[in-house]
Assembly symmetry: D2
Homo-oligomer: 349 residues x 4
């Protein structure tokens, strides 16, 4: 059994981690940590968990992590540094669901996250946890920087197209829509039900902290540094990210070529589903670790759609996928709701 | 492995059954049946299932059920009769998620369901599948009539109070609110998004088909035939039932007495959670097989709140709970997202 | 032109007042007051108002109200006292949309509102602003206590039934559901979109501050002090209150008798609509000052449904209706979206 | 009084027309026409209208339109032809809220609308009703083709930028999100609450019927035929369109230049509001005839946001704005909820 701890158990990603780990056959939830929530039982903080788990939430204490094999950190960005440093020194592996170790350029970090980076020595040791594209590095990582939710929905479809030089690099339009749980549990007026319901708004245009992350990993995985513009929006739903990317195709490619490229590129990736000619919908990935990708081409312009559940493939699910990779389990263990592989071939009578 | 078939695989309850059974270690989904959907693959009908199961949906054929151990019927009420008759004759056990076998009074059936009952001979053979209250009969049932979603949320809290003579019988007010998935997938104007969103409406006051079901089983399990009035409402959410019951208490009982009664009555029921002094909320049971129950007493009037996920405890989850009982598995197998019992005791350092 | 001021212009009721008053032919919005919002233009605080009004929000100052004919106070309960005292002393009429002057029992006020009542001398001078039932007193009121939203939806249907001795008084079950705007703009975790969406919860059972208000005015208008239990719930919609009342009928009354009673009782009330045999729905009153009322009777139990828009008939709309009464205008001026009475008779060719 | 008729009174745009016209001081709603709804009273079809209007809905009959000054047609596209022909022959002016007269290329019409165009002789007589850009032609039009909702949200911001050669023409990315009422009242499975709620989906990528309309009028008003790609999406809200446009800027323009251009271009347009540095939100235009426009520029890419209420500025509101223009009334009559112009200058003490 892998002994795990979670810092930030009282948040939405923390809850999602617990829900998934409770059903994971190889994992023990050994320690839960919190700040304001410390001293409470986890099922009092998340009443959904009543009857499932009764662990107490503790104030972080280095003695309490000594026995752990893995520490998940599910905190708002800017808060992970001391815990990652401490765990690293103790030789405990870490998966950080926040953004503190996704960038190695400390100036970019400060610009976009509005915090100082207080562990620059670890910035290059951390490994980016986009499971499908970085499996080899994740396997042996001491620190995994779990990807941003928007970034996941953008990198998975764009990387293969950039690697194969199928799309132009001078201008890529990226428009994403997110449910409210992506903003976490911080209490602000503009996240109140009456403010969000029956509305939509773009925000942080050109300033979102996932921009340098996307730039960095398009270069690393796609070998390309395209000029893209990313516009995130807030949706009146709780879960889900929907990304619509448009750009010109470089050569005379057609939809089938792209669909085949995606299909082949992700043929060993159980969580990437290529959807065609249907169009992905949030409800088809909600509650799952899947990323659905589709595309169409008209008049030399490709429209690429991808969708994920921001709390699962965009956070807790991908974190567990990474844990599975780190501990040499099957990638799907505990997060693919299908224990029976036989269904995956067409059955006839 | 229990070989199962599902009639009505294309509906919402059918989808929920498949999602749950895919993760059930003792079950094989052997046959899927449909009407308009027949000839398609199940993952084309429910794109959520892509990558999980590829079975074809068949037109019902008695040869295709021969090998089955259990047949789930997830059809709108009025459609189950021929299939139940056929399965019963073949000795295949059946769980009907619709309402066709919940009443043994054929006239009541016709009055409330607006159909003829065409299998009256089986009406008394069928066993009511309210798992917590009828386990012994369910164990050996040939035909299980899975309870209505509203009925489940009403019977579980009312039965112990009636048995113990705690509440009056001359007038019980029952007000329930349901998400839209309770209406199934039938396409009608009044279930369109633009009609349901940002609104609420009561419907079928005094005429709902769960009324005779509640009456029958309050008598059977609670030993009482109280005068209740049941008002169902439609909510602009997809999943969940919220039931608020009010009536006078007979004697000088207080909240603690009632809470203790509930707690004791359901002490062996892993899916009934007594919530106090907190108040149940739909979001705490959404996606689970739990029924949360709470109560308060003021001025001699008790307010009882209960909540379930209508597609799980109110349909597919309870059906699988009943299957587990019928096949001598643990009740929780496949439907309690917690494979590790150790969490259920408070852990200290 | 009636010169009006609004204290609490930055809140939801303040916004609704402004939207309605902008279109009122006899009113000038002369002064807007706020606290944190003071110094801003009202259309910067409520961007919906851009292009409609540009008034600045001021810190309250007694000199700024000198010229006013009427002061609306749209603050959370507990905050109106000094402003009402000041206006009263200056002879400026006041309509308080909060709860501070709805009760004359100071102890009840403290018990339910958790504040001291600091203007007890005015508690008996204030007139309850339930327009349909208290028109004569409102006409000459110096201070109008605008009714609570729940109270409005409950008193309008219950009063006629109690007056005519049609229902029992030993137990009335009142279940109400409200949209989130009823909670105002205060920022709390439990009103965040992610917490409210796709859920429902009851709250303040037996403790809601509208309970003594309902009690007081059932006695005043209905001549009766029945034993009722009131359970408010929070709904994932922005606007609207839905109230479902159940009780036993005293005599052999039927639906038609009750419908006729309602119809006659409210025959001069343009904002009360009796709905039968249809059932009221929130969407039919949303954005209007209407209260829709319907009822059914089964087995000696009457189910009464009423619905209002909590921000209009439950707050700003009724406040303007009261203003119209106070200033001898037509009750409907500015709040009935129909300037042409001829439509109200059936037109034939 | 302008005597008006409405064909399609039972639909959502029909309802919105009635709600607005009821409050319009210069208009009489003289005739309502319907198909399945004929024979009913309009307030039985739309219970929201109870107490406001009681007109009967008639089967269309040429005798019943003889006395009219103006006929609104609010039907699904493909159904307006015979009525427009009839009215035109009788000299009665028409505003068609559907798409049947927005294109003059009959082949394009057939390709995108999947119907034959059966009034080609009138296709060039009809005048496009984008009020802000085509006022002179609208004034004297016999037939006004009211713009599509998406088209309105796209043309208003793009035309000034194209006219001034500020943006590139080789690729413009247009991503729009619409509430469900845009799909009208037709009853289909994919518009059911349970299918739409908590999800998002793109649809008709490269095939939407507004594409040739946008092309035609970008050329007419903007003098340009750019290569754009338009991706419409469905949102789980009832009302509102949100459009996010991205393209490269041609020259070294900055945000202020664009904002000033918009501001000047629409300085006489009371319904276009330029929002900066804030970002438009659906809730700020919901229930109004406003179009809010904003923009930002980063790395040579401009992001333009615009938002409207699809049933008002995208349908009924703009139709009335056009009526006002046709009948020489103030553009704002009946649709700007502000009868008092004095608020539009900053008031100081």
């Amino acid at each position: 059994m892998i002994k795990t701890g979670i810092i930030g158990a009282a948040g939405y990603s923390g809850l999602e981690l617990i829900k998934l780990l409770l059903d994971h056959p190889e994992v023990e939830i050994t320690r839960l940590f919190g700040f304001n929530s410390a001293g409470n039982r986890i099922d009092d903080v998340h009443p959904l968990l009543r009857g499932l788990i009764t662990n107490e939430i503790h104030v972080y204490d280095e003695k309490l992590i000594a026995e752990l094999d893995l520490l998940f950190i599910a905190l708002p960005s800017g808060n992970a540094f001391p815990f990652v440093i401490d765990a690293y020194e103790k030789g405990i592996r870490v998966i950080d669901l926040g953004g503190d170790f996704r960038l190695n350029n400390i100036n970019d970090y400060k610009t976009y996250y509005k915090h100082e980076h207080t562990a620059p020595g670890l910035a290059n040791i951390a490994v980016y946890g986009l499971s499908e594209l970085n499996e080899q590095e994740i396997k042996n990582a001491a620190i995994v920087a779990n990807p941003g939710c928007y970034s996941t929905s953008i990198l998975l479809p764009l990387v293969p197209l950039l690697k194969e030089n199928i799309i132009t690099k001078d201008f890529i339009s990226i428009v994403s829509y997110s449910g409210t749980s992506g903003a976490g549990k911080s209490v602000t007026e503009n996240m109140m039900f009456s403010e969000v319901n029956e509305s939509v708004r773009a925000y942080k245009i050109g300033k979102h902290q996932h921009i340098p992350e996307i730039t960095r990993y398009l270069l690393k995985f796609g070998g390309s540094d395209p000029n893209f513009s990313f516009v995130p929006h807030l949706l009146p739903i709780t879960r889900g990210i929907y990304t619509t990317i448009q750009t010109k195709v470089n050569k005379s490619v057609n939809e089938n070529l792209c669909i085949n490229l995606f299909t082949e590129y992700y043929s060993d990736s159980p969580f990437v589903r290529i959807v065609h000619p249907d169009i992905p919908e949030i409800k088809n990935v909600s509650g799952t670790n899947f990323c659905d990708i589709g595309c169409t081409i008209n008049n030399g312009i490709i429209t690429i759609i991808s969708t994920i559940d921001n709390l699962i493939k965009g956070a807790a699910g991908q974190a567990i996928q990474n844990m599975n990779i780190m501990f040499r389990l099957e990638q799907t263990e505990g997060i693919l709701k299908c224990s029976k592989k036989q269904y995956l071939k067409v059955q006839s009578i």
